[in-house]
Amino acid sequence: MSLHFPQVRRLRALTAARISVGAAKAAVLLIFCAAVVVPFISIISTSLADSRQVYAAGGLVLWPERPSFDAYRAVLSGGVVSRALLVSIGVTLVGTLLSLVVTTTMAYGLSRSGSFAHKPILMLVLFALLFTPGIIPNYLMVKGLGLLDSYWSLILPVLVNPFNVIVVRAFIMNIPADLIDAAKIDGANEFQTFVRIILPLSKAVLAVVGLFVAVGYWNNFFNALLYINDQTKWPLQLVLRTYVVNNATLSASDLGGAESLPPQQSLQMAILVISLIPIVLIYPFLQRHFAKGVLVGAVKG
């Protein structure tokens, strides 16, 4: 027994060290995850909590004792939040669709190296990544086109993202040229080739790019801040800024005219949850794709 003693002690010390390293790792990860999860729980709980509990807590709560949907009913029954929600949904849908069309057609037009004007147009896309115009010239352009206070100011300036064009182009270039040649021999013109061959085969990359573009439109605060002054045209992000970040008071007249409003905190958190829902809904689809390395491939490319 005594012969083995030093080895046993060393082994024990080693396992002890391994366990404490493991515990330290677990603690760090737990803190990081809690920093993300706890706020979400608290936000949802406060949006569902009734006024007595919110006033007793003096602010946010961690768990709703008597959950009710009063806050959601109040903000969604017409008024400033409902209107902004419709604006955001409209801008996101129209913007994403237009962006996908323009991005994909441009990517297809650039997918055959050696075609006419291929190089200069590709350069145009690449240099757009390197040089960005800055806030003032962009603002003057949108103003010059008469797009201030127009929903188009939220869509057109971000219509084409050069990076997305490059990602989609790389994908299209990997489609076997034989397929395109076969379509040509069968008498298909470019447009038919694009619609019947390229689009169906590019569904995967279009889904990913589309999701990212949609998140971009939904989250866009910067353009709305610059270009939309008319309060009736505000998207959700500006409403969030005014009522949730700057704590402007939501009165009954701002909303659908509910008689007694739930506490401000519940209303604020309900708006926050509403603006989070689309992101959380599409997040699983996003995650399935970005893990596969669409972005990584593009960066390494």
């Binding site: 790792k25 760090v28 990860l29 990081f32 995850c33 993300v36 999860v37 706890v38 706020p39 608290s42 936000i43 003096g58 602010g59 961690l62 069309v101 323009v102 057609t105 441009m106 297809y108 037009g109 055959r112 075609s115 006419f116 004007a117 145009l124 896309v125 757009a128 390197l130 115009p133 800055g134 806030i135 003032i136 010239p137 003057l140 086109l145 057109l156 084409v160 040229a177 470019e190 998140v215 939904w218 989250n219 605060f221 910067f222 801040l225 610059l226 992000q237 969030l240 800024r241 970040v245 905190q265 958190m269 926050l272 603006s275 959380v280 997040y283 995650q287 970005f290 893990a291 990584v296």
Partner: protein, 326 residues
Amino acid sequence: MAVNTQCRTATGGPPTEVETRHRGRRSQRFHRDKSLLLFTIPGVCALLLFHYVPLLGNVIAFQDYQPYLGITGSYWVGLDNFAIIINGDPAFLQALENTIVLTFLQVVFVFPAPIALALLLNSLAREWVKRVVQTILYLPHFLSWVIVVAIFQHMLGSAGLVNSWLRTHGYTTISIIGNPDAFKGLITAEVVWKEVGWGTILFLAALSQIDSTLYEAAEVDGASAWRQMWHITLAGLRPLIILLGILRLGDVLSVGFEQIILQQGPVGLAVSEVLDTYVYNNGVLQGSWGVAAAVGLVKGVIGTALVLGANKVAHLFGEAGVYKKP
């Protein structure tokens, strides 16, 4: 491709002179590709209109720009607008200082955080733990800055979750939101919270590319875990770290416009004004278009120059950098 070449020679006929051959080829290529070219037109128009024309719009940095006169009608003033930079206007210097301090904080705390987290995730034995942690930590990347700022305010503000808890348990509350002294720390913490998880993706991908036999060889040679990390893991990540570092340099003078403009009110401009908000506040809000455009232009030029310069330095040291040396 083969089909195309055949078509070209079949319809083109034998070229006689170099000049005509070149022109002939070009017009043939145009005819062959014109429908393909049509596909690029919407995208080219959008890029020209909202990217390249505004780029030219930077000329107002050399004008006393008045909106009612327009670019063609406004007076040219040479470098007058740049005087504010050269002479060191106090508000501008304040914005510059805040920008540099925030950038420094981000380089020290935000840049290495995803590397450390990626190493931590990579060392986890259980695949499902890794996946759960990734799922949770990637999510904040997809939230807008308005939402992130709202979350921070309602967690750390005076009526927030943390202070409510402290108050009900009889502790003194902490003042973070609206406290000018805590502002720069808060900004940095928000960036870490939002981006640390997402930032690991590229590093995890690079880690999975490292040849595992290197670790086995190091083990045989008796290298400790720390030495393995230094000589194999971090050495394997080096190209990516350099690439991201160079790209980050281009943004040295841009620290989160959206993030800061949302939180400027309560803490005041002295601690929170950065170059981007300076441009917005003076140009769009105050109407000093020329001066704001001048500051924006200098900022853009410095950013681009830094990226190109850093890339050059990386090449000198034999690294790949952002693009391969031609």
